[in-house]
Amino acid sequence: MKKFLENLTTNQKLGGVALVLGFIALFAGDPYGGTSIKVNEKDLALSTVGNADKISVNDLADWIIKDKADFELVDLRSEEKFNEYSIPNSQCIPLTQLSSSELLRNQKIILFSDDDVASSQAWFILKSKNYKGVYILDGGLDAWKEKVLFPKAPVNGIKDELDQFEKMKEVAKYFGGSVQTDSSITETKTQIKLPTSKSSNTKTTAPTGKKKKREGC
């Protein structure tokens, strides 16, 4: 056997190695294995969206203002709704298109929808696909509107509360919202004018939005 190997030319050895590796490939399985959904029922049943996986709207607002861009903000609603209004710097990936999106497994991903339902679903989908840093926006867009865009003035607030409210006023202004006083809430709740998303630097991905970067030659 040893003598046989020694007598082979370099080319024959290379060919042999290729042949052996090719043969192993027949049985080695699917190279896309890591990217298709492998649901381990037990794991999935045990994993629930815990508090650690939630991000409060105030934190998010703070990050956006400070231009902390180490996360991908994903709007799971339909594109029409996204075009109407969305949180600045978010991208629109409707729930149904989530599996074909270009999100990376190492990214910090913050999901949101109107409330927590769709984002929890999306959280499960991404977690089952081995995405590491997936978070949901606590309370969704409803909470965003209520707490960031149109915060309520505290009634008879103590000083601390009032100080905090001043800050929130600034935040609301930054995102184009306004402060609601008690009286105006009852009257104008339905007429709240959402800031137009055109002015903010939102970006869309699907389906006509961001072009895939050309990498061929």
């Binding site: 080319n11 290379l14 050309r214 990498e215 061929g216 030659c217």
Partner: protein, 193 residues
């Protein structure tokens, strides 16, 4: 290196009417070993960058940027130029393929120098004039540039890189290059043999 290319080289030197005095150039390496080396380079590109190698893309960017400089309005109406120029948020010349192609230029020169293979000359068969060879080189370059753009890639970008990831279109492209090449080879035999 097989005997035939040596014969061709000798014939070429005689054809030029003078004998080069130079340090004997080294023969080219075993093609299979070179192939493994090239494959590892390609694999490194996949693993590090998640993309293959390319060549014609760099020239396309250069052409698009030039057109855009000279006639910006004209380029803005053309999707082909627009794609290579980009949205002007980034400099189109700070491009992966451009740097890679400059690397190829340097790498080719280093390897050629080490093996004493860098010398001015024209590659052709014995039966064709230098002028015709240059005309053919221009026509051939033009056809390849045009065809590679239509096919979304050249030998490096499509056949080599796409071949390794089993891209359907790349394999079709590769087969078609061989079909086109062998079909035209007969008519071009005076240039090469």
């Amino acid at each position: 290196m097989t005997s035939i290319t040596k014969i061709l080289t000798h014939a070429f030197e005689k054809d030029e009417g003078h004998v080069h005095i130079h340090i004997k150039e080294k023969p080219y390496s075993n093609p299979y070993l070179v192939g493994v080396g090239l494959g590892l380079v390609l694999l490194a590109a996949f693993v590090i960058m998640g993309r293959g190698l390319g060549a014609s893309g760099a020239l396309s960017t250069a052409v698009a940027v030039t057109v855009n400089k000279i006639a910006p309005k004209h380029a803005a109406q053309n999707n082909f130029y627009k794609e290579y120029v980009g949205d002007e948020t980034t400099n189109p010349l700070m491009d992966w393929l451009i740097f890679q192609t400059i690397g190829v230029l340097v790498g080719g020169f280093i390897s050629g120098t080490v093996s004493h293979r860098v010398k001015k000359g024209i590659e052709k068969g014995p039966r064709i004039s230098t002028r015709m060879r240059l005309v053919y080189a221009f026509i051939g370059g033009g056809l390849l540039g045009w065809g590679a753009k239509l096919a979304r890639g050249c030998m490096s970008g499509q056949a080599l890189s796409g071949g390794a990831v089993l891209n359907l279109g790349s394999w079709v492209f590769m087969m078609m290059v061989f079909v086109g090449g062998y079909a035209a080879a007969y008519f071009m035999r005076r240039q090469w043999i």
